[in-house]
Each structure stands twice: as structure tokens, then as C-alpha cells.
Amino acid sequence: MTNTALETPSVTPGQMQVSDEVAISIENMNKWFGSFHVLRDIDLTVYRGERIVIAGPSGSGKSTLIRCINALEEHQKGRIEVDGTVLSSDIKNIDAIRSEVGMVFQHFNLFPHLTILENCTLAPIWVRKTPKREAEETAMHFLEKVKIPEQADKYPGQLSGGQQQRVAIARSLCMKPRIMLFDEPTSALDPEMIKEVLDTMVELAEEGMTMLCVTHEMGFARQVANRVIFMDQGQIVEQNEPEEFFNNPQNERTKLFLSQILGH
């Protein structure tokens, strides 16, 4: 498990290491919803330890892109390789990739009939066949990491939105994933709660997790991303390091988008 990185002391963003090892490689990927061409010729290579923020107007296909990576959406053309495994329609292959790739959703998607602790131990126990005690210890470790160990015996419905999202992050981490996908993790939260979730994500980034985040939080992008990708109409329009991306956008569509979200 490479997530021993999580136990290492935090480092400043400048020191964060990006290795040459490829975590995800997407080649010439296309996807259609019916006759709607939602993703067009996507080429993207993500190196281990990279923190990528994907931005773009709604309907630009950014969520669909990261949902293709763990096969929540099926792509029709092209090749996706995650952690050395090529995504095929074989269900075993898909389940193997999913257990290595954590995902955090906009609407948390916690299991409301299970306690916080049970939410976190479910997949380790059933997918990884971890003994219950060990799974619970791991779960408590990550709940402490997201700063809500005291809520372990409550049900998701009893927690605030920000707390729920932090539980969702802990739940993903309990599977000790090598890659984390974030699908607009703060879009459904009150402004006050956005910060607590972002803090958790920043901490995770500092520990060297490979992260792909679809988000509109440009402050977060500046702080932790080492690459920002801008998408429009199902295509990657521009990608660059955050400083360059925000200060010196090249594409007209990017300029318009940035002027709209940063201009107020």
C-alpha cells in the first residue's frame, strides 16, 4: 500500500513530490450519452502524486470524465489505464480498479441506514476481507484524521453537511486507495462548511495523495494543484500550472470563464 504516505509528516506544497510513475493514462477517449457527444478525444496522463483540478462550465463533461475513470460511466471509444490495469467491461476488472480508486461525491452518498463507523468499515470488511476489529481501528484512524471521531456511532442524518462530506472522505480513505477522485465535493455545502472540507482535502494533498478534483474552488486550485485543466464542450481546452493558468490564460473560452468566476 503506498498510502503509507498518509502517515508521513505534512510538507509544504512546494516540496510536494510528483513522481514519473503514471497513475492514470487516458488515450483518445470518447463518450456519448445517446447521440450527445459528451467527451471528445480526451488525452490525459496523471502522474503519481499529482493534484489536478478540473474546472469548466456546467455540462462541459468534467464530472463525466472522472466518473469514467472508475467506470461509473462507460466510455465507448479509447483507452483508460488505471494503476497499470486497462479498464474493460469485465466486471472483476472494474471492481478491482474501483477498490483502488476512492471517490467523493457532491451529495456525499453516505449510507443512511448505517452508522458513521459502519459506513467506513463496510467496504474494507466485505471487499478487502479485513477483520472487523482491524477495519474499525483503521476507520477510527481516518475519522480522527478528518476530525470527527466523536461522531462514529451516529447516523449520517444526524451530521451537518460538512461533517457528512468529511465522513465520505474518510470512508474512501479506509479502502487505502492510491488515487482519489472528487466530484464537486463542496458544491452542496454552506460557505462555512466548505472550509472544513477543503482543509481536509488540502491535508490529504500535502500527504502526497494522487487527486483529481472537479471543483469551482479556485482558491483551492491555487493552493494545492500542480495542474489545472479547463474543459468546455467535452474537450480539454487548456491545461497549465495554476499560476500560469490564472494569470495568463491563453484560450478565449478560458479567459471568459475566469473573468466570470473571478470577477466578482
Binding site: 472508475n70 467506470a71 461509473l72 466486471i91 471492481d95 478491482a96 474501483r98 477498490s99 483502488e100 480508486v101 476512492g102 471517490m103 461525491f105 451529495h107 456525499f108 452518498n109 453516505l110 449510507f111 443512511p112 441506514h113 463496510l122 467496504a123 466485505w126 471487499v127 447516523y155 449520517p156 442524518g157 444526524q158 470512508r171 474512501s172 479502502m175
Partner: protein
């Protein structure tokens, strides 16, 4: 006022007033009645009318109960004792008690067997209904119970239910071996293994080995028959209903269409026609000489009928779950069976409880329909042997009221249990 100066504001209290009772119109029952029963003139009139109705009901029914005759050999004897007074002839209940409960052909010296099975039923279902209150080990007894109850009720050699149980065990063992490769292989392999086991073991003579006196299916009757049909069909139709509901959502077109056709066909047909099919028509399709037990045929038909309804109820529950729940399960790497069992079904079934209970209560009452295909269940007993007898011809109120009471007790119990269960499972309280 007179001793006070007009402009003086000086006042000193010399004696403190004790606390006084409020006026009678603002106190206790009077106040309550004024507020709830006689707040306006129309409400007052309605209250009086309601009181009159209640009085009329009680005054006419109470003597009927109070004068009721509990000990008489026939309705004529009842009438003689009453001498024209109003009164129920409950003697029919005491005199025909065993017939009402067990039917008129079950050997009376064997009544203890179904009675014991009935008592054991409570032990068997307790750990299922109240999972947190009873140890999980009791579920072992629950698994044994169906075979034990069969043996107690129908009698015969103990080897028959033991072999039946072993067939299930064999099927399960093959299933658990093969399921790692694929669910379908495990499923069909398990069924095949069980069938082969039963076919092979069928050669073994079972006659007389640890045998209870056998009782034929046609000799079962009374409320016992309703209870057997009700419990067996409810407990079978829930798993079948779940399977049908999941099948209807399946991505595999063959399974999906089989489930849709089954559900739509069975739901579109009256239960009574299915029962007639079970009774009469099936005999034409079976090879001559096969003796396919009538109760088994009826159980199959009622189970089919109820599982189609339960499938639709559960489909509603499945549809009510947000898509995110499926995606969260998928994204954690749970396979289909795991995410259904651990995430989707617990939530979908919880939503479906009121609907499932609705079907279960309806099904239990519908077991009385078997009286139409000349089986002597509780209603069949009343309409047939009891009312047709010369002694008790004409005792409608007492008998049918008793039947209604028995069904009410069971159905009300089911309904109360479901309300409790919904409370127990709710996790959104703060």
C-alpha cells in the same frame, strides 16, 4: 368604595387571599366537555347524536353477549334456555371448538402435534422479527422449524423432512463452491444438486422409521389451515418477491422479461382463478397417477400471487432510493450481490414495509378463499360442516364473528409489529 377617599392611592393589604378554586365551568371534566363536546350548538347536537348511537349499540349488543349461552348441545337447546330473550348462542364455539381450529377430520388424539408446532412457531420467528432482542444462534432453530413443523403436522417418518433439509444443505454447499466463479452457475448448480440429491435419496425406504402417525393433507382444516397457508406463503413470497423485483431491474433482457411477464400475468388474474387452476386444471397437465398434494398446489399458487404483488411493492422501494446509493456502493468496489444485500435492499425494504405488510395481511385473509375449492379452512368449516349440521343451522353471527375476531387479532398484530419495526429502523431521528 364608600370608605375610600376619591383621590387616595394609599393601599395596604392586611390579609392575604388564599388560593381559590376556579369556577366550576373552568374546571376538570366540565371545562373539557365544554371545549371538546359542546363548543358550539351544532357540535353539541352531534355529541348528543353520537351518545345516542353508542347507547343504542351497547344496549342492543350487550344483552346479546350477557345472555349468551356457552353450554348447549344445539341451537334449539339455546333458544329453549333463552325463552325468547335476546342472546347469543356461543355454545357452538365451545362445542365445535376443535373443529374450528383443526377441521373435522384431523384425528383428535393428535391435536397436540399441530398445537406444539404452533407454539414452536413463536420461538422460530422471534429471532427473525426481533433481531436485536434474541441471540443469533436461535436462527438455527428457525432453519430447522419448517421441517419440524411439517413432521409434527403431517406425521410420517422423520426421514422425509430430514432428507428434504439435507437436499437444501447439499444445494447450498454446491452453491457456495460454485458462486465464486459466477452467481448463475452457483444458483443453478445448487438447484440441480438439491434435485439430484432428492432423486437419489428417494430410493431409500422411509416407511415406519421414527414415524408419527401420518395425517393426509385433505384431513387438515380449520384455522390451522389458514395459519399454515398464511405463514408459509408470506415467508416464501417475500424472498421470491425480492428476487422478482431485482430481476425486473436486471440488465439481462431474458431475466428482465421473464420477471415482467410473470408479474404482469399473475397480477392480472384473480386469485380465485389461480386456486381453481391449482385444484382442477393442474390435474390435467400432470401425468395420470401422480399425486401432487393439494395443499402444496395451493401454497404454490398463493405464493406466486403474493410474490408478484410484493415484487411491485419492493420495486417502488428500489425506485425511491437515490442513484447515488448505487454509485457509492459501486465506487467502493462492492460487487452486485454485496451492494444489494448491504446497501440497497436494507433501505429499499425499509421503505417497502407498509406495502409488504399490506400484502401480507391481505394474503392472510385471502387464505379463506380456499373454502371455495372445497378445502375446510376456518370459513370452509363454518359454511360447510357446522352450519349445515342440524344442530347449528342458523348460528351465523356467533360463528362468523368469531372467525372475524381470530383474523383481526392476527392481522392487527402484524400491523402493530410493522409500526414498531418502522420506528426501530428509523435512523433519521436526532
Amino acid at each position: 368604595m364608600a370608605d375610600m377617599h376619591a383621590h387616595s392611592v394609599r393601599f395596604v393589604r392586611e390579609t392575604m387571599l388564599p388560593q381559590a378554586e376556579p369556577p366550576t365551568t373552568e374546571r376538570g371534566i366540565v371545562k373539557w366537555m365544554r371545549e371538546n363536546l359542546f363548543s358550539t350548538i351544532p357540535n353539541g347536537i352531534l355529541t348528543l347524536a353520537a351518545l345516542w348511537c353508542i347507547w343504542w349499540l351497547i344496549s342492543s349488543v350487550l344483552p346479546w353477549f350477557a345472555n349468551g349461552i356457552w353450554d348447549a348441545p344445539s341451537i334449539r337447546a339455546c333458544r329453549e334456555i333463552l325463552e325468547g330473550q335476546v342472546g347469543g348462542c356461543f355454545a357452538v364455539l365451545t362445542e365445535r371448538w376443535n373443529q374450528l381450529l383443526f377441521g373435522f377430520q384431523y384425528p383428535s388424539e393428535l391435536y397436540w402435534r399441530p398445537s406444539l408446532a404452533f407454539l414452536l412457531l413463536f420461538i422460530a420467528i422471534a429471532p427473525v422479527l426481533f433481531r436485536k432482542r434474541f441471540p443469533a444462534q436461535m436462527l438455527v432453530f428457525t432453519a430447522i422449524y419448517p421441517f419440524l413443523a411439517y413432521w409434527l403436522t403431517w406425521g410420517g417418518s422423520i426421514l422425509v423432512p430430514v432428507f428434504a433439509a439435507l437436499g437444501f444443505v447439499a444445494g447450498y454447499m454446491v452453491y457456495s463452491r460454485l458462486v465464486a466463479q459466477s452467481f448463475a452457475m452457483g444458483f443453478f448448480g445448487g438447484i440441480l444438486a438439491a434435485l439430484v440429491f432428492w432423486w437419489v435419496i428417494g430410493i431409500v425406504p422411509t416407511e415406519g422409521i421414527i414415524a408419527l402417525e401420518p395425517v393426509a393433507s385433505r384431513n387438515l382444516g380449520g384455522f390451522m389451515l389458514n395459519l399454515i397457508l398464511g405463514t408459509v406463503c408470506v415467508s416464501l413470497s417475500i424472498p421470491f418477491g425480492i428476487a422478482l423485483a431485482l430481476g425486473r431491474q436486471s440488465d439481462m433482457p431474458a431475466i428482465k422479461w421473464i420477471c415482467i411477464i410473470f408479474i404482469e400475468f399473475v397480477r392480472g388474474v384473480p386469485l380465485i382463478t389461480l386456486l381453481f387452476v391449482a385444484n382442477v386444471v393442474l390435474a390435467y397437465f400432470l401425468p395420470p397417477g401422480t399425486n401432487f398434494d393439494l395443499i402444496l398446489r395451493v401454497i404454490i399458487m398463493i405464493t406466486m400471487f403474493a410474490s408478484a404483488y410484493i415484487a411491485e411493492v419492493i420495486r417502488g422501494g428500489l425506485a425511491a432510493l437515490p442513484k447515488g446509493q448505487y454509485e457509492a456502493g459501486d465506487s467502493l468496489g462492492l460487487d452486485y450481490a454485496q451492494s444489494m444485500r448491504l446497501i440497497i435492499l436494507p433501505q429499499a425494504l425499509k421503505i417497502s414495509i407498509p406495502g409488504i405488510v399490506n400484502v401480507a395481511v391481505g394474503l392472510f385473509k385471502d387464505t379463506t378463499l380456499v373454502s371455495i375449492i372445497s378445502m375446510f379452512d376456518l370459513v370452509g368449516m363454518i359454511r360447510g360442516p357446522i352450519l349445515a349440521s342440524t344442530e347449528w343451522n342458523g348460528v351465523y353471527w356467533e360463528l362468523l364473528g368469531f372467525a372475524a375476531l381470530l383474523f383481526f387479532v392476527v392481522c392487527f398484530g402484524i400491523s402493530k409489529y410493522s409500526q414498531w419495526l418502522e420506528q426501530e429502523l428509523s435512523t433519521d431521528r436526532r
